[in-house]
Amino acid sequence: MMKVSITRPYVYLLILSVVLFISVLIIAFALLIPKGKDYRLDKASLRGIKIEQNRVQVFNDKTYKNLKNLQSKNRAIITAFSTKFNAKRFEKQNSKFFEKFVLGEKQVVTNEYESFDVYEVNASSKIDSPKSFYNFLEAINKGDWIVSVEFPIIFKREAKLIHSSFKIKVYSNSKNKIINKELNSTK
């Protein structure tokens, strides 16, 4: 029978090799592989988050574009709603349609519409023909404020002129709404 003789240093070497090898295995399986797994999962979840983020960003950009479009299309209306009503200026702007045009006191406020304040102003005027009144109704749609002419409207003949009295309603953004401040700040 053949006898295998291993010297003591080699036995030590072998034992050291085995110990180090086992240490490598332990480090690999106990630390690296679980961490690596976490790393892969994190990477995948981050990719998902980035895709979601991108989707939100695209939606944000789309909404912003939409808002800007709306704001530019309706600039006149937005400005009209946020402009404080000035009776003297209104009289001056529309006096060309009347022989005489007088506005009464501004009366607050019917809470007709949520988010909007509505003021009522009595107006009396003298016109030489109904055509002036038609022109006035057309002109207020292009004016600096959102104004509607309300019933009752009374026309009364006075010599060669027609005296008319009516009520106008002026609509403006409600002062109580925080949104109006924001809206004005983004204009």
Binding site: P9, Y10, L13, L16, S17, L20, S23, V24, I27, A28, L31, L32, K35, D38, Y39, D42, K43, L46, I49, K50, E52, Q53, V56, N60, T63, N66, L67, L70, Q71, N74, I77, I78, F81, Y113, S115, P130, F133, Y134, L137, E138, I140, N141, I146, V147, S148, V149, F151, P152, I153, I154, F155, K156, R157, Y171, N173, I179, N180, E182, L183, T186
Partner: protein
Amino acid sequence: MRFSYIVPRKKTVLSSEVILLLTFFSITFLMLFFTYVFILFKDYQFTSTKKELAIKKEQLNKNIDSMKSKILFIEKQQALSERIYTKNIVLKDSIKNMFDLVPDRIVLSQVHLLENGLIFYGVTPTKDVYNFMLNAPLKSIFHRTYTSFYPTKGGWLNFVSKNYIDVDLIESANEEDVDDES
């Protein structure tokens, strides 16, 4: 006495085999260590990126909500203004139609345009002129028409014509139409 010519090799704790083995395993451990550090660094990077993205997403969502409420408000303004503009134009057309309705032979002194009615004050040469030329069209437009006459000094007749639309009747007629269509 016998002498050996072989020089004895130095005995050290770290033999060349051990050094080789230790070098190999040191390199292996270093590689493992660097891999572990790399993974830890990436893990940290992922966590901070996730936090940043979460904050950014929250800001974007807030921004979107704020923009949506602004859009909604502008749409409200747009709808209201359109309604008012239409109302003014309809009013203009109504007044125009009303004046067109009155024949030249009848002279009006006062007109009251009400929400659901119309009151005329004026003079007419005869009742027939009024009935044929003004009252007939008024009756076709309004549900209720009341007229009273009283003579003037010149032989003409003053008249007061009160005309009303019954909104309830229109609404019920509309409902019937809807029912018939369905």
